[in-house]
């Protein structure tokens, strides 16, 4: 389900609109992933605090959203631009790629919460496709 020209335009426009809130939303999404899908906590056992108030979690959520924003600016070559991050996830972090879908769901949920009028079904489908392609690019180096 590759990205059409329309998908890319929609995603870019929506991200531009929501960019002031992306750091906060990233923290929110990660908190929700750890709360609603507790098995994901297994990847963060090196952090002392995995509660919803955790500064570590919120900061990391912001980092992830920053990387997503960066990927959007390079949306025409996700595989190439995510090569280093893919290596990191494949060889060092070894995150099961099924979890990318879980995080994507929580990101989408937070986008809908913060921007209920802008996150229309049409925007939703383009963002969902984008995050799916992002996950694919991130899993590229796994095997």
């Amino acid at each position: 389900m590759s990205l059409s020209g329309k998908d890319k335009t929609v995603v870019k426009a929506f991200w531009d609109k929501v960019s002031p809130k992306t750091a906060e939303m990233g923290g929110e999404a990660l908190v929700r992933m750890l709360t609603a899908y507790p098995q994901t906590k297994t990847y963060f056992s090196h952090w002392s605090d995995l509660s919803p108030d955790s500064a570590q979690v919120k900061k990391h959520g912001a980092t992830i959203m920053g990387a997503i924003g960066d990927a959007i600016s390079k949306i025409d070559d996700l595989t190439g631009s995510l090569s280093k991050l893919s290596e990191l996830h494949a060889f060092k972090l070894r995150v099961d790629p099924a979890n990318f879908r879980i995080l994507a769901h929580n990101i989408i949920l937070v986008l809908a919460m913060y921007f209920p009028n802008d996150f229309t079904p049409e925007v939703h489908v383009s963002v969902d496709k984008f995050l799916q392609n992002l996950a694919l690019a991130l899993s590229e180096k796994y095997r």
């Binding site: 949920l109 996150f119 079904p121």
Partner: protein, 147 residues
């Protein structure tokens, strides 16, 4: 038997008393049909599903969205035995409607997203976890009679 904490019970009851089923049901179903277009395969008799605008304004989609919420409300009233409550519904989806059960998760996700956008900050991470647990039990009960 599913174990529900007091918080989970109260949360589910509260969500369903707060949401407008006439809005949430249609919004969730139409979002599912738009975001995951292959789900349209089960709605051949619903008429015009050609684009997002058509789906959102389709009266049959809206009516069916309300039916779905009605089904969920049955589960809310029988939280201690959703499996038995849904036995006939499960047989219906398996033998008559022949819905691939993986689709239940897609609709569940859309429901969660629509409820989140309705409730805003009141949809806290703990509330989200409770709601998703409820939907997971619903989905498992709907899958139960497939053979």
């Amino acid at each position: 038997m599913v174990e529900w904490t007091d918080f989970e019970r109260a949360t589910i009851q509260e969500i369903f008393s707060k949401i407008d089923s006439g809005v949430v049901g249609p919004a969730a179903l139409s979002r599912c049909l738009i975001v995951y277009p292959w789900t349209q395969r089960y709605f051949g008799s619903f008429g015009n599903l050609y684009n997002a605008a058509a789906i959102t304004s389709n009266p049959k989609v809206a009516a069916h969205g309300k039916v779905v919420i009605g089904g969920l409300e049955k589960a809310v009233k029988n939280m201690d035995d959703i499996k038995t409550t849904y036995k006939d519904l499960s047989v219906l989806h398996s033998d008559k409607l022949r819905v691939d059960p993986d689709n239940f998760n897609l609709l569940a996700d859309c429901l969660t997203i629509v409820v989140a956008s309705q409730m805003g900050q009141a949809f806290t991470p703990d509330v989200q976890a409770a709601f998703q647990k409820f939907l997971a039990v619903v989905v498992a009960s709907l899958r139960k009679q497939y053979h």
